[in-house]
């Protein structure tokens, strides 16, 4: 918990970062670069929202893939059957709706899944993902099955193509980070952190553990749904095995861990580092080696840096600062700390 830097510095940093993001397409107009940036922002959103349940509360969920898919399919199906819009800026207005649909679906799913503890919960989320992949494939009369589902094609093309999607993803990423920030500083956030440390104790002192976990689950689903919708429109054609892909949740989890689960900056940092690296690697290396390396990096991060970059760096800074001032970090254990004070 490093709360020592002044707030305006943090705020200033955010504004600068945001300005950079907005200016990015103008600074780096090549469409290849924008594509990478867009996908990175996608994972900033996914990792931040995954972190709300996975990092704050310690409940590993692999359901993001399912909600990503639900968002993508919802948007596609609405555009196909309900609201006929030609490709343009109009469909973007449906993105929050897609998120909402995912969130609503998440409520009963979370209701049931959160009745269990960690390991079984993770299993339940894996099951949720498989179910939606199955549904997407089998309900072919609605979803087009493995033949996929098409979106209206946007009216803009060429070098300009990525730009609107970039900004759409930027907005979603912003929303994701803001939601994570709001949760973190709220009573719900404190409760989630307590759940991570000692769930039974948290419950014993009045934290409504199931409710809080459900809130986190639904919020994550909301963001994942929106991301999926933007992604679906971006690719203009979605297939079940690509939008309901376990690697989406796994990737988000890995990035959150790398950066520091439980922090706000962590998932963002993790996404900024890993997504471009992952994309680059994918270009140069064949499928099998890619998997081996991916697994290896994953293992490396979790086993050797379980707290992630941000907390580890923070701890390093703290200990350097303390050593410089020559004072120990905490009162030595032998010292009876209360005899005098308590006697008052």
């Amino acid at each position: 918990m490093t709360g020592s830097r002044p707030r305006w510095a943090k705020l200033g940093g955010c504004v600068v970062a945001l300005a950079f993001c907005v200016a990015f397409p103008t600074l780096f107009p090549g469409s290849g670069v924008l594509n990478i940036a867009l996908l990175t922002l996608m994972y900033v959103a996914l990792a931040s929202s995954w972190n709300i349940l996975g990092g704050f509360a310690g409940y590993i969920s692999l359901g993001a893939s399912a909600f990503f898919g639900i968002g993508a399919y919802s948007m596609g199906l609405i555009l196909e059957h309900l609201i006929h819009m030609s490709g343009g800026y109009g469909p973007f207005a449906l993105v929050p709706l897609a998120g909402l649909i995912a969130a609503v679906v998440a409520i009963p799913l979370g209701w049931v899944a959160l009745r269990t503890r960690h390991a079984v919960f993770a299993t339940a989320t894996i099951a949720i993902m498989f179910v939606f992949q199955l549904l997407a494939t089998n309900l072919s009369s609605i979803t087009g099955g493995s033949a996929g589902l098409g979106y209206p094609v946007p009216t803009w093309t060429g070098n300009f193509y990525d730009k609107p999607f970039y900004f759409a993803m930027l907005v979603v990423a912003l929303i994701a980070v803001i939601i994570a920030w709001m949760v973190r500083r709220s009573g719900v956030g404190l409760g989630l952190l307590a759940i991570r440390d000692d769930e039974d104790k948290a419950e014993a002192i009045g934290v409504p553990t199931w409710s809080y976990k459900l809130v986190a689950f639904v919020l994550s689903a909301f963001v994942a749904g929106m991301v999926g919708a933007v992604y679906g429109y971006y690719t203009t054609y979605i297939y079940p095995q690509f939008v309901v892909d376990p690697l989406i949740s796994i990737g988000a989890a890995l990035m959150a861990f790398l950066g520091g689960s439980g922090t706000l900056v962590g998932p963002v940092l993790g996404a900024l580092i890993l997504e471009p690296a992952q994309l680059e690697l994918g270009f140069h290396v064949n499928g099998q080696i890619y998997l081996i390396l991916y697994g290896a990096v994953f293992l490396f991060v979790i086993l050797l840096m379980p707290r992630g970059i941000v907390p580890s760096v923070g701890a390093l800074i703290d200990s350097r600062r303390a050593r410089r001032h020559g004072a120990p970090l905490a009162a030595p254990p032998q010292q009876p700390p209360t005899a005098e004070a308590v006697a008052q």
């Binding site: 709220s186 009573g187 404190l190 000692d198 014993a204 934290v207 970090l329 209360t338 004070a341």
Partner: protein
């Protein structure tokens, strides 16, 4: 239930598989008192605690707190009724700071909690005061994981006290505590008691118990064998037998 009885435990039992942990046990805690719960190892003290605080459901019997039935409620519900508890191995939230630990039970909830953050008006000050009183005010911003065991115990106690409980169950508060500090701890508990909080204390340190308890309940093999003022109880033959016997 008589007027000054705060907690009334009546004939509760619990078996785990083939083992009978608690067998037809009864006890009373009167308002404003510090009652000790003692007995040899394995006499069922912690199981009784677990039943009172809702972690374990009694197989038989009844538990009443101020005329309300407790048995069968969840730990959270019992906590909200005004019963707090500490654990044998101090349970705290290690990744939160001491201050945050104390704020968990009184965090701002609901929509305003979302909009304005979890630090309720005045609560942070109350928490800091509490930590000062406990002698660990200087550790307020430290993650509890860095604190010593004795300090964690104090954080745990502070967390319990933040909601002004009427009854606090202490599970071996003196265990693992430096002998010099035990006196201070006893005095702290007594001072809290003087503000009207009742205590039920499980403890092996008999000096500690004799020092602060108004009332003693002795358990042996899951059953109560005596209840009364310490001076009386310690002379009862059944008690002596329980401690010295087979």
């Amino acid at each position: 239930m008589s007027d000054d009885t705060l907690l009334h435990v009546q004939s509760i039992s619990k078996r785990f598989g083939g083992v009978v942990a608690v067998n037809d046990c009864s006890l009373t805690v009167r308002k404003g008192t510090i009652t000790g719960l003692i007995g040899p190892n394995g006499s069922g003290k912690t199981t009784v605690f677990n039943m009172i605080t809702g972690f374990v459901r009694p197989d038989d019997g009844a538990i009443r707190f101020n005329d309300d039935t407790i048995a069968g409620r969840t730990p959270g519900a019992i906590y909200r009724m005004g019963i707090g508890r500490t654990f044998q191995m101090a349970r705290v939230f290690t990744r939160l700071t001491a201050l945050e630990n104390l704020l968990v039970p009184v965090r701002r909830t609901g929509v305003s909690g979302f909009l304005r953050g979890f630090r309720g008006v005045g609560q942070a000050e109350r928490a800091r005061d509490m930590l000062e009183q406990l002698g660990i005010g200087h550790m307020a911003e430290e993650p509890v994981g860095r604190l010593s065991y004795g300090q964690r115990r104090l954080v745990e106690l502070g967390t319990v006290m933040m909601v002004n409980p009427k009854l606090v169950l202490l599970d071996e508060p003196a265990a693992g505590v430096h002998p010099r500090v035990v006196d201070g701890l006893a005095r702290y508990i007594r001072s809290l008691n003087e503000t009207g909080i009742s205590f039920l204390v499980v403890e092996h340190d008999l000096n500690f118990v004799m020092d602060i308890c108004h009332d003693l309940v002795v358990l042996d093999r899951g059953r109560h064998i005596a209840q009364g003022p310490p001076a009386e109880v310690r002379t009862q033959q059944s008690v002596i037998d329980a401690y010295l016997g087979d």
